[in-house]
């Protein structure tokens, strides 16, 4: 998929400048006795990729469905680009959504599926061909959707989301079923969309991918907001950088490293864990002391750790008992 996704930056903006964002205000959604979303408030801003994280059943899909107008809130409001989505004259030009990629009629061709959606807004075959080309689907455009693999179905969903050249884009698990090639393409594409000034909002379970794609994170658990911050801030909150040091002379080195804001923990008889000093400083101390280092590695907090520590108490379905930290 060597699509020239960068052409989109060249389009003249034919619409008047206006608010580009997703606003969720005190959103509550109950299904009978279950509260899926509980007084949730956040704003998704343009120009950055915002990730939406949360354990299974946290209410991410529900919140996205309310934003898209597919479900009514029990209370609270959501707005897309300044207005509730139903009030826009051309919803597909305001917000492109990918909520459940498998939602297609198996007997229809990809082209017909996209054409039907495009026609509602007066967009024609030319635009359909363009999004097919953008997502690398020209070759399968006239094949029946029922014969598609999961990855192709996902790409079709992405193509549909892009039909209206939307200012805001909201995706639920967009890289589900894509091969590594496709995952990289989506990452670049989403970042380029954000760089153009669009609002990009995506939910995903893949931490490693989210860490590389998103700049800002909104984390929810049990329907409530847990965190709403830039990625660096969340990672910093988890814990400072730790350096693992392996040396036969652990005790001597530990004594030498001790200082007011330095913590040295003896992990094993020949291994130390140091926080408060970077690897270069430790190596320097060791050299001055004449201590031989066998291993020196820096461990930065990962998004996975940050996420797990944030949502620890909010997980509905635990797979294994909480691991000792």
């Amino acid at each position: 998929m060597h699509s020239d996704w960068d052409i989109r930056a060249e389009h003249p903006n034919r619409r008047e400048p206006s608010i580009i964002m997703i606003e969720v205000e005190h959103l509550t959604k109950r299904f009978g006795a279950t509260t899926a979303v509980d007084d949730l408030s956040f704003t998704v801003h343009p120009g950055t990729v915002t990730g939406f994280l949360g354990p299974n059943g946290a209410g991410k899909s529900t919140a996205m469905r309310v934003i898209a107008g597919l479900a009514r809130p029990t209370s609270g409001t959501t707005r897309v680009n300044g207005r509730p989505v139903a009030e826009h004259a051309a919803p597909l030009a305001e917000i492109g959504t990918l909520l459940s990629a498998g939602a297609t009629h198996p007997g229809r061709t990809a082209r017909s599926h996209l054409l039907a959606l495009a026609t509602t807004h007066g967009l024609g075959r030319a635009r359909v061909d363009e999004v097919l080309r953008l997502t690398g689907m020209e070759g399968v455009a006239d094949r029946r959707v029922g014969s598609f693999s999961m990855g192709m179905g996902q790409r079709l969903g992405l193509a549909a989301a892009l039909l209206g050249d939307p200012r805001t884009i909201m995706l639920d698990e967009p890289i589900n079923g894509l091969d590594p090639d496709g995952i990289v393409w989506v990452r670049h594409f989403l970042r380029s969309l954000a760089a153009e000034g669009r609002t990009v909002f995506l939910s995903s379970h893949l931490m490693s991918e989210m860490a590389q794609t998103a700049d800002h994170l909104i984390v929810i658990g049990r329907g409530r907001l847990i965190a709403d911050a830039p990625i660096e801030q969340l990672l910093a909150g988890v814990g400072a950088t730790r350096v693992a040091v392996k040396t036969p002379d652990a005790q001597r080195l530990a004594a030498a490293l001790a200082a007011p804001d330095v913590t040295v923990t003896a992990v094993a008889h020949d291994e130390l864990e140091v926080t408060g000093l970077d690897a270069a400083a430790i190596a320097s101390v060791a050299r001055d002391l004449g201590v031989l280092l066998h291993e020196l590695s820096t461990h930065t907090a990962s998004l996975e750790e940050a996420y797990l520590s944030l949502t620890d108490s909010a997980v509905e379905y635990t797979a294994v008992p909480a691991l000792a930290r």
Binding site: R14, A90, R108
Partner: protein, 285 residues
């Protein structure tokens, strides 16, 4: 940049500079038509309906008229007994009677396949106001239903003319009687299609929708008359039984039963549409 990129830029520019996208009902209706014409089941259902209609409306009459003289000594009398003094008109009536059940199925499929596959979510994300989508589906249903019914009825009529002519019972397609019955029948199947689509939109699965629609249109008129006492009266105001008056010949039964029957069916249809519209707009997808 490569040559292909430049070409794409130029093409894209012309698209964006042309028209700003916006929703209009005409466009939503055209989209619904694209959906209907892009699935094979639409064509199959239509073909089966027409074939079934012609087979029973025209086929039976033709069989009777070509049966060996020993079995049916007076075909003309048999035909007049079963199809009325103007058998051409009678055949048209039978055609609509056989067609409407399958037209109801067609009407159900217009909406049910979308709900069961989850495609409705994509459609309503593009048209969050929702009501225009339902209205467009009802329109497609009505037009397609009427077209299917008319094709079956006209085909049946034309197929039997040669035989009837031979027996001195022929008539012309442009006879006022024939035109009246064709118009009434078309209205009948059109309303049935609209009602089927409206009722089907209330259900999540295709099977449930088909059960409800066919139960109301086919089973109820068969079973309810069995209820002692009031059975007969209730049966008279069921949508399909009342609606069938629409393709009776006015010269034979007079206008009043036709109009009354039509109004009863119209009332049912309006009720179904109002209920469907209210729920379609409010329910979570």
């Amino acid at each position: 940049m490569s040559a292909s990129t430049t070409a794409t830029l130029a093409a894209a520019d012309s698209i964006t500079r042309g028209s700003v996208p916006r929703l209009t009902f005409a466009r939503i209706a055209r989209a619904e038509w694209i959906k209907t014409r892009s699935v094979r089941s639409s064509y199959w259902t239509a073909a089966v309906t027409v074939a079934f209609t012609v087979l029973f409306a025209a086929g039976v009459l033709l069989l009777v008229s070509v049966a060996p003289a020993a079995d049916v000594p007076d075909p003309a009398a048999v035909i007049v007994d079963n199809y009325g003094a103007a058998p051409g008109v009678g055949v048209v009536g039978f055609a609509f009677m056989f067609a409407y059940a399958l037209v109801a199925v067609f009407g159900v499929l217009v909406v049910s396949t979308e709900r069961s596959t989850g495609l409705l979510a994509a459609t309503l994300a593009a048209v969050p106001r929702r009501t225009p989508v339902l209205a467009a589906k009802l329109l497609v249903s009505a037009v397609a239903g009427m077209a299917i019914g008319l094709v079956g009825a006209v085909a049946s009529f034309l197929l039997v003319q040669p035989q009837l002519g031979g027996l001195g019972l022929g008539s012309s397609l442009v006879d006022p009687d024939v035109l009246q019955v064709l118009a009434g029948g078309a209205l009948f199947v059109g309303l049935i299609a609209v009602m089927s689509t409206a009722i089907a939109s209330l259900f999540r699965g295709t099977a449930a929708a088909l059960g409800a629609v066919l139960g109301l249109l086919i089973l109820a008129p068969t079973l309810i008359p069995i209820i002692p006492g009031i059975g007969g009266e209730i049966a008279g105001i069921l949508p399909s039984s009342a609606g069938m008056m629409l393709f009776q010949s006015a010269t034979q039964v007079g206008w009043q039963p036709i109009v009354t029957g039509g109004l009863v069916l119209l009332g049912w249809t309006i009720g179904a549409v109002v209920l469907a519209g209210a729920l379609f707009k409010r329910r979570d997808v």
